[in-house]
């Protein structure tokens, strides 16, 4: 039996729910809406993610044709910041755990 396990005082503090939630990689997924213009969505993708015209257009078409597009993947905190920025542009975005990693 290890010393740490035998003495709760020395155990690493259990991770909070928030810490666990923040772990791993997360995807920022933009969902389709029937309102926002294609040109507007392309402009937003270029501004927010720094995509070139071709990439922004490809992602926009994914949203339009498939209903969703994964536009970014990375740490939770930054993913949340991207979702917030997309909301400021009135696009609907969600976070999903990136299970590929």
């Amino acid at each position: 039996m290890s010393i740490v396990a035998a003495n709760p005082q020395l155990s690493p503090s259990p991770q909070s729910e928030t810490e666990l939630r923040m772990e791993g990689l997360w995807r920022v997924v933009v969902l389709n809406d029937p309102v926002n213009l294609m040109s507007y969505v392309v402009m937003v993708f270029k501004k927010v993610f720094g995509f070139d015209e071709q990439t922004a257009r490809r992602r926009m078409l994914e949203v339009h044709e498939q209903g969703r597009s994964v536009v970014w993947s990375g740490l939770r905190e930054k993913a949340e910041a991207y979702v917030f920025t997309l909301q400021q542009w009135h696009l609907t975005a969600v976070l999903e755990p990136d299970e590929a990693h």
Partner: protein
């Protein structure tokens, strides 16, 4: 500073402003695109919502400020680097609210996406709402197409 001026037909646009003003009231309390992150804790979610609402209100105020006394005397609105981004966002917010409040009876989102609808088949409130929807899309297209990257910062 690059700037575009657009002369609008007052008799056509003036009635649409009433629709925008009415929706501005609704947008002062509700986000145009609902917050989709359900797993944020309540406090964090409320803080996000408040900040998003504050930005949204500022956008809509800027849009309405385009249609001031000068507009009603000469019918001209102007877009430049100080207002272009804000206006293009405000138009998105109002268009989303228009769909929620007026355009759902159209049922067919394809018609909304293409803008391909026979206005004469719609009753008056719906027709005015749809004209407003198209008008705001036209403003967005004008800004996106004519103000270059340095102004919109893409």
């Amino acid at each position: 500073m690059k700037r575009i001026e657009v002369k609008l037909a007052l008799p056509v646009v003036a009635p649409l402003l009433d629709v925008i003003k009415e929706l501005a009231d609704s947008l002062s309390r509700n986000l145009a695109a609902p917050l989709a992150l359900k797993d944020l804790d309540d406090e964090f979610q409320a803080a996000w919502r408040d900040e998003l609402l504050s930005t949204q209100n500022e956008e809509v105020r800027t849009l309405l400020a385009l249609f001031d006394d000068e507009f009603f005397s000469d019918g001209v609105v102007a877009f430049d680097e100080t207002n272009a981004e804000i206006i293009v966002r405000a138009c998105a917010a109002v268009r989303l609210r228009l769909r929620e409040k007026y355009l759902k009876p159209l049922g067919d989102d394809e018609a909304l996406e293409s803008g391909d609808l026979d206005l004469m088949t719609l009753d008056e409130p719906l027709r005015r709402a749809f004209m407003c929807y198209l008008f705001l899309a036209t403003i967005q297209e004008l800004i996106i197409q004519h103000l270059d990257d340095s102004i919109l910062g893409t």
